[in-house]
Symmetry: C2
Subunit: 254 residues, 2 copies
Amino acid sequence: MATPQTGAGDPTRSLELLWRDFSPAPSRPGPKPRLTVDRIVEAAIAVADREGSCFGMRSVSAELGVGAMTIYRYVPGKSELIDLMVDRVVRNDEDESLLEGLEWRARLELLAEGTWEVYDAHPWLLEINQRRPVFGPDSMAGYDFAISAFEGHDLPDREVNLVITGIMNLVTGTARQYLMRDGAEEVPVADEREWWAKQEPYLKRAFESGMYRHIQRFADESAWDVTAHQAMRYALERFLDGMAPRMEAARREA
Amino acid sequence: MATPQTGAGDPTRSLELLWRDFSPAPSRPGPKPRLTVDRIVEAAIAVADREGSCFGMRSVSAELGVGAMTIYRYVPGKSELIDLMVDRVVRNDEDESLLEGLEWRARLELLAEGTWEVYDAHPWLLEINQRRPVFGPDSMAGYDFAISAFEGHDLPDREVNLVITGIMNLVTGTARQYLMRDGAEEVPVADEREWWAKQEPYLKRAFESGMYRHIQRFADESAWDVTAHQAMRYALERFLDGMAPRMEAARREA
DNA sequence: CCTGAATCGGGTACGGTGTACCCAGTAATA
DNA sequence: TATTACTGGGTACACCGTACCCGATTCAGG
């Protein structure tokens, strides 16, 4: 049984670490610290990526080759560490000039694809309670980019907000259904097909029972051949189709 | 730190329990069982609802007034119990005749609202790994109802599937962002407003730094006054707007 | 009726988690 | 050099899911 995470520890502590300035510390007595917060965050991400599901603090310590409790000198607790990991992982070093001249739709698609890629690379993100997000420099930059898609349009701020969260939630929701890894210790159940094969006899019996009238006509086997990314793109495209007339109406007359 | 769940234990065991028939058991030696699977599932749901975040097996035992290990006589483990809870919680006892004559759009909105209500009543659902879902009688009925929305239309099976999962993921994603409870032991951080107030000084400093050019023009305070349900509805309506022309094109000529 | 067998509920214990706490060693300051 | 703040490591605790064992209970067969 995996032990996923709640995220969002003491926000003050997290925020201090997220926005910490890097001015050289005044020289102080005592041994020089062997670690840095950045190295710990980096290591924790590596561990979380590798262990598939959630990670343990002891694993992070081991990754860094230090004692179990040492990292607590740098980071107040696991929740705050997760806040740091989240902000680190959404960092985007792409050259902003590449976006020059992109339409709103292309920009929002880019937003969705970028978010998708992050989830694809770091599925453990999907197990984190993202309610009450703690905004760090990189999450902020992400939101800033999202807003840039609406330049040249007079869509009300409130609606801009709704659109962005809509897209994010759509991507997150789909990613959660398809990308989330199993807990580390569980049997990997080989592939998807085997999973459904196990259910088949029960489902078949259910169909034959005569309840579930509509599902019955749903015979086309290939209906189920949907990749995670296709599902996300389909929902996204329909959503943007629905946005199009509104964006057109809000286009600022030059 | 809460300990959310992975769901999906041994699927065979879960399926056996989900689709167990209720023919009276042949009389066997040994004392009569004091509990039933149903009572355990019911109790576990009550505990999960009350404890806000995830529940412990010992709490379920206590709720039923039995020893810690007793429930393991009825249910193989926590994961399988969760599978049962999920199927129980999506049960819908509404009279199907109420749906008579509803258009596809109204039906899909009903699907979304119903799902939303389930999440609202049982936020712990949002912490469960729903990849590799185990289909029980009630999940099946839910899917059957979803498909019924497409009656009288010749939308390809594959696309029907995409639409349904799209809506479900959209609702789940939004619910996850807004409805998810904090872990039980964490400070409740009172209200939402206090949470953002804590972040404000940092965000303000960030704005003043001059990076984040776009977020800066985003001055309308009321832009953030969005309820969870409004966010869900907005995304849903745009999605359905995008669906409308396709549904129109697929309407079966009578 | 009695006896054997199967099942039940409860208790103990194990390995895992996050982390509070203490202690010895280190290195910059006065 | 003496002081002092700070570091890293180890131990220990409470909690989790649950494997295992044992005595009590109640049926089926003789």
